[in-house]
């Protein structure tokens, strides 16, 4: 089969495309030609679109993507819905790119930029890439939080082990065994036992 090319396909890359027809998209853009073209192209793609201007203070439930016009006369991006854990994917619609506007775009934590005038070509990719980016960032934040907790736990366990080794004159391994035994009998985690030991040690040291 030489001279015949085989394409290997990354099937996963299609996943973010699959639910485009189900997602709720909000357009915060003035009611003008650009706003209309943006809405029409989103409808061609098949998204469920609603448009408002000025932006709403509270988002309708299950809003996944927000197109937000950031303009010289609408620079305030201090929306409550941008500060939530579950923030939607934000795509900034801009017609200037002076530092004032760019700063507002950054502050709004936009995942993509849509420059005016609207061109139909490119909107689909922008939408999909921004959504994917948002999902990945949220996943990474979740992972990071877990890693931080884990790291803190490990630090605590080491500290608690040191306390036990000092108090009882036992080895590192025995100190850990002791804590694990306590955790099992009290049906809690080694991290919790470690925290209890550290706080008890603090109180005891204070009394000395």
């Amino acid at each position: 089969m030489e001279r015949v090319r085989r394409r290997s396909r990354v099937l996963d890359a299609q996943a973010p495309l699959k639910d485009l027809r189900d997602i709720k998209v909000l357009v915060f853009h003035p009611d003008n030609q650009d706003g209309l073209q943006l809405i029409q192209q989103l409808q061609r793609i098949g998204c469920q679109v609603q448009a408002f201007w000025p932006p709403l203070p509270v988002l309708p439930e299950r809003t996944e993507v927000v197109f937000l016009a950031i303009r010289p006369d609408a620079l305030d991006v201090n929306f409550e819905w941008l500060k939530t854990e579950d923030e939607p994917t934000l795509i900034a619609v801009v017609d200037f790119e002076n530092p004032t506007i760019v700063e507002a775009v950054i502050k709004a934590n936009a995942k993509a930029i849509l420059p005016l005038p609207i061109r139909t070509f490119g909107l689909l990719s922008t939408l999909v890439v921004a959504r994917e980016l948002n999902v990945r960032m949220k996943e990474q934040q979740k992972k990071l939080r877990k890693v931080e907790e884990k790291l803190l736990g490990v630090q605590r366990i080491t500290e608690a082990k040191n306390i036990l080794m000092r108090m009882h004159g036992i080895s590192d391994a025995d100190a850990y065994k002791l804590m694990r035994g306590q955790a099992m009998s009290k049906r809690t985690t080694v991290e919790d036992i470690a925290a209890a030991i550290i706080s008890a040690d603090g109180i005891l040291s204070f009394e000395k």
Binding site: R6, Q14, L17, L20
Partner: protein
């Protein structure tokens, strides 16, 4: 303003190169419509005057000639392009000068330009129907072979996805050959087909090499009764190149076949045969190229101008009694409501239509996930 000057239109097809057979037929379809219109007194007394260039199946040439049509020949409307690469090359020019392009070719979807009218089938008007038919009649183990460019990639993505919705489905291979592939390429492909034994072959091989695929298949002694080739692009034109005996028994999904039994089709073919003879073999792209010139002429009669801003409102939503049935330009996406059909090639080099849509199917060029069964409610099963 009573203006009796001719109305110049641009015809930009390929009379030479890899896709010249279809390109020539698209040109002939457009010229037949021009002839029709001029015989009826033109557009309010103004003669339609085609300015035509051979783009030689080369995207760069398409772009250059589109600009020449606009700047030197002063046309406001261009009819043309076949492969997606040629359309993509022309669109920036058309948009830059704010002119109008009528594109008479099936393509892979995912496009909208305010300056383009798309009159060929979108995937939801041919691929879904073909997958449904092949899977229910032959099985869901498919071998995909295509020319090496974007239309086959996307068509194969859709076909692979559709077929895989079926239990017991399997994509046995996805193979691409160059546009200029020779016979040896296809012998290799067919050897691989024989080893993998699919239920059917889905071919998105386009252009003049199509013949070679079917010939390699026939020479290997394979039987379309057991393992047919299904295609979206193999039309009467390709069949006349390869010979009816080689094509017989294979399937094509398209909105138009010469064998459609309608008055509009019969009279259109009769006019073509009387006036133009054997310059090309009428096929789906010929028909789209034919009816889109009429759509334009009818719109211009209403607008009085062929400037895009004036004429577009009359193009959008307009209907025409085309050879395939009454078609309509869908205003929301500039594509066309068409009639999906499945044909099996017969011993006369024509298609026997085995299924057809009762009503026009709406174009949905941005549909990512197609579903088997979508079309079932809307088709007539014509099999005996």
């Amino acid at each position: 303003m009573s203006n009796k000057d001719p109305v110049k239109i641009g015809l930009l097809f390929s009379d030479s190169g890899a896709t010249s057979t279809i390109g020539r037929s698209q040109l002939q379809g457009a010229l037949l419509a021009v002839d029709d219109i001029n015989k009826q007194g033109g557009i309010d007394g103004r003669e339609l005057l085609p300015v035509r260039y051979d783009a030689q199946s080369d995207p760069a040439m398409y772009a250059r000639l589109a600009e020449r049509l606009i700047t030197r020949d002063k046309v406001n409307v261009i009819f043309g392009c076949y492969m997606s690469s040629s359309r993509k090359a022309v669109i920036p020019i058309i948009e830059k000068w704010n002119k109008l392009l009528f594109y008479p070719t099936l393509y892979e979807g995912f496009e909208f330009s305010n300056n383009v009218i798309y009159t060929g089938a979108a995937p939801n008007q041919n691929s879904v129907q073909l997958a449904e038919f092949m899977v229910s009649n032959f099985g869901a183990r498919v071998y995909l072979v295509g020319s090496d460019y974007i239309y086959p990639y996307e068509s194969n993505r859709i076909m692979g996805e559709l077929v895989q919705q079926h239990p017991d489905s399997k994509k046995l291979a996805e193979v691409y050959v160059p546009l200029t592939a020779d016979f040896k390429h296809f012998q290799n492909v067919i050897r691989d087909v024989q080893a993998k034994k699919p239920d059917f072959i889905f071919s998105t091989v386009v252009g003049d090499s199509t013949t070679l695929l079917y010939r390699a298949y026939a020479e290997a002694g394979l039987s379309p009764k057991q393992m047919p080739i299904a295609s979206l692009t193999t039309s009467e034109a390709e069949i006349s190149q390869m010979g009816a005996n080689i094509a017989a028994g294979h399937f094509t999904s398209a909105p138009y076949f010469q064998s459609i039994e309608s008055e509009a089709n019969r009279s259109c073919l009769a006019r073509y045969n009387a006036g133009f003879g054997d310059l090309c073999v009428p096929n789906m792209c010929w028909e789209a190229s034919f009816f889109q010139v009429h759509i334009f002429a009818n719109a211009m009669r209403k607008s009085g101008s062929d400037e895009i801003a004036a004429i577009l409102p009359f193009v959008l939503g307009s209907e025409f009694e085309a050879p395939q049935g009454r078609i309509r330009i869908e205003p929301s996406n500039h594509h066309t409501c068409l009639y999906p059909r499945i044909g099996i090639a017969n011993s006369k080099g024509q298609f026997t239509i085995v299924r057809e849509a009762r009503r026009a199917v709406h174009p949905d060029p941005y549909l990512v996930t197609h579903s088997l069964g979508d079309w079932a409610a809307r088709i007539d099963n014509l099999e005996i």
